[in-house]
């Protein structure tokens, strides 16, 4: 038996054609994997009912002066604080330029329906910007060195405007997206 037929068979192979088939097959397989993988990844994102439950109306007339209430929206805590005149004054008089995250007290409020500001009511997120603990406040008997909130986890002190003054937290307690529905009701959304 000679080796001629074997070499002849190999001479017939069109390498370009074969490479093209390899690449196209590989791409089709990769595309198929991606199409199947995406639902498996995306299912972990918030579900429609979770997203829907992401805003809340709060009656602020029930908050006692000098105190606060805490509400949960989608499991996230928010503080609604009724500030005393002294607390408002200290929030306004702070030298904002020297702060870690400079913001005036006015920048941290939203206008009521008639366009004025209601400095007595301060609404902030209840999540410390350091590592997500919930700071303690007037109801827990510890307002920190600056009269606002104190995060016991790693010692962050917030002032009466919710601004970071001391400790490891990098920024102020965020002001959530909220609006005055009436003079006594606010709507907070995530």
């Amino acid at each position: 038996m000679t080796d001629t037929p074997v070499t002849d068979a190999h001479d017939d192979i069109d390498e370009d054609r074969r490479n093209f088939i390899h690449i196209v097959t590989g791409m089709a397989a990769a595309g198929g994997v991606a199409v199947i993988a995406w639902p498996l990844i995306d299912q972990m994102n918030p579900a429609a009912d979770t997203k829907a439950a992401s805003s809340l109306d709060v009656d602020i007339s029930k908050v006692p002066e000098g105190g606060e209430i805490r509400v949960l929206i989608g499991g996230q805590p928010f503080f609604i604080r009724h500030r005393t005149q002294a607390e408002i004054a200290s929030a306004r008089n702070a030298n904002t330029q020297s702060l870690r995250d400079p913001q005036t007290d006015e920048e941290r409020l939203v206008p009521t329906p008639d366009g004025a500001y209601n400095p007595a009511i301060l609404v902030t997120s209840g999540v410390c910007t350091h590592l997500g603990c919930v700071p303690v406040g007037p109801a827990q008997g510890n307002v920190g060195d600056y009269g606002g909130w104190y995060c016991a986890c790693h010692g962050s002190h917030y002032d009466t405007s919710g601004r970071i003054r001391k400790g490891p937290a990098p920024s102020n307690l965020p002001v959530p997206d909220y609006r005055y529905v009436s003079d006594t009701v606010i709507n907070i959304s995530l």
């Binding site: 990844i41 972990m44 994102n45 918030p46 579900a47 979770t50 992401s54 805490r70 949960l72 929206i73 989608g74 499991g75 996230q76 805590p77 209840g126 350091h130 590592l131 997500g132 603990c133 919930v134 700071p135 303690v136 060195d145 995060c151 016991a152 986890c153 790693h154 010692g155 490891p168 990098p170 995530l190």
Partner: protein, 483 residues
């Protein structure tokens, strides 16, 4: 070892029939019966066997607990309490599972330190070492996911701290966080996926353990001398009965200690706050992870400074993950040709320093970073007031009565206030920063440089000769005091 001839001889007709179809008995015989093992392995080498037993314990108790557990934020805590009170032997199964996790980590840390001491990561065992690092990483993930399931205060807020770390990643951090949680914060979706993955990962670990044992059986065991097997007949003994018995004895002793914890102090390694149901509105005053993750938590908190554009929070996260990642490249960081630290007198000192640093990091992780270890002076009281010209002034006092008298002596218009001024001190934060520096220096500076500069002691010619040298009656005569 791979070069070792199979000595399996099928005896019965069935064994012969099976051997030509699925030679599983041959694989078991060659791997765990007549597997040539260095004759000088000490008790530090029994922890691999202990770990395999604990993987089985965790999987068996876990499967049983899952029959009674409910992964729902409204029912999870109550279902765990029901396991403790109403399910027959539920208290035992849960205490075995919870303490089993602790002992699993205790054993794995001993196993890892043993590998670092005897140079078990060096050629030709790099892949074996890396697979071990992967198992450790999977164990950390599994333990973290499992700690969420009882839905106690520490479950919720501990997980919150760790998940928020992902938020520190620039640009995509918040998106990743929401994706991991399945909502704006930790909730039912989070608990259910954590349960699902907590059930999955142990089986992934079991798979990687099979690869780990395979990668062990190709080059064979390292040993306390670090000298490779040269003559199988002289240097090794069969795994069974020599090491099945030795491992078995160690496993029994370790299980006795484990039983003491399960039956007499089942909660001593846990945290009381986790027996309070999770409440997203109240954070426990002192959040700490389980003890076996404390050193990494200490490294996370040690970074309180920014470097260039990277802020302290992200830097802490990077340092914490780097502390595990650096283990993967140890085989290439250690430049010494000598495996065992028995023959590396200088490296040995640094190694024991490293063990001490890891233990101390655990202590730092459990403590409040701002608490003083060594106070430098005493706390003082500062009275701040406005003087007669209306300028801000302050006076410092050592005694409360004097400070109070001074404050009360000032007029109403002075607006005096009193505050505590903390004395300077060497705090847990400072200790944590020093230890973190040493942790990384050990791998990135000491091991690479020492291998090039150190003059090692002389290694024995073979395992056989090192064993004989320890037995005066059988080897060269050694002067003995007259009896």
């Amino acid at each position: 070892m791979s070069g070792h001839e199979s000595t399996y001889e099928p005896k019965t007709g069935f064994e012969k029939w099976l051997d030509t179809r699925l030679p599983l008995p041959r694989l078991v015989h060659d791997s765990f019966v007549d597997f040539p093992t260095p004759k000088n392995l000490n008790y530090w080498y029994t922890f691999g066997g202990i770990l395999s037993i604990f993987l089985v314990i965790q999987i068996v108790t876990g499967i049983v607990l899952a029959m009674h557990y409910t992964a729902d934020v409204d029912h999870a805590f109550a279902s765990v309490e029901r396991i403790m009170r109403d399910v027959p032997y539920g208290w035992l199964l849960r205490y075995v599972h919870a303490n089993g996790a602790s002992f699993f980590f205790l054993a794995v840390y001993v196993h890892m330190f043993r590998g670092l001491y005897y140079g078990s990561y060096k050629a030709p065992r790099e892949v074996l070492w890396i697979l071990g690092c992967i198992i450790f990483l999977l164990m950390v993930a599994t333990a973290f996911l499992g700690y969420m399931l009882p839905w106690g205060q520490m479950s919720l807020h501990g997980a919150n701290v760790i998940v928020n770390l992902f938020g520190a990643i620039p640009l995509v951090g918040e998106g990743i966080k929401t994706w991991l949680l399945g909502g704006p914060s930790i909730g039912n979706a989070t608990l259910q996926r954590f349960f699902s993955l907590h059930y999955l990962l142990p089986f992934v670990i079991a798979g990687v353990v099979i690869l780990h044992v395979w990668a062990l059986h190709v080059p064979g065991n390292n040993n306390p001398t670090g000298v490779e097997v040269k003559d199988t007949r002289k240097d090794t003994v069969p795994f069974h009965p020599y090491y099945t018995v030795k491992d078995g004895f160690a496993i029994v002793v370790f299980l006795l200690i484990f039983a003491a914890f399960v039956f007499y102090m089942p909660n001593v390694l846990g945290h009381a706050d986790n027996y309070v149901e999770a409440d997203p509105l109240v954070t426990p005053a002192h959040i700490v992870p389980e003890w076996y993750l404390l050193p990494f938590y200490a490294i996370l908190r040690a970074i309180t400074f920014d470097i260039g554009p990277i802020d302290a929070k992200l830097l802490g996260v990077i340092a914490m993950f780097a502390a595990i990642a650096v283990l993967f490249v140890v085989p290439w960081l250690d430049t010494s040709r000598v495996k065992s630290m028995r023959y590396r007198p200088v490296a040995r000192q640094f190694f024991f320093g490293f063990v001490a640093a890891c233990l101390l990091l655990g202590w730092v992780g459990a403590s409040n970073p701002d608490d003083p270890i060594i106070p430098l002076g005493s706390d003082k009281l500062v009275v701040e007031y406005s003087d007669e010209n209306g300028l801000a002034a302050a006076r410092t006092f050592e005694v409360y009565d004097e400070a109070a008298a001074f404050r009360d002596g000032l007029g109403e218009e002075a607006g005096a206030s009193m505050a505590v001024q903390k004395a300077p001190a060497f705090t847990f934060l400072h200790l944590g920063q020093i230890l973190t520096l040493y942790y990384f220096a050990y791998f990135l500076v000491i091991l690479p440089l020492l291998g090039l500069r150190e003059r090692p002691d002389e290694e024995p010619d073979s395992i056989h000769k090192s064993v004989l040298a320890r037995e005066p009656s059988a080897g060269t005569p050694i002067a003995q005091p007259a009896e």
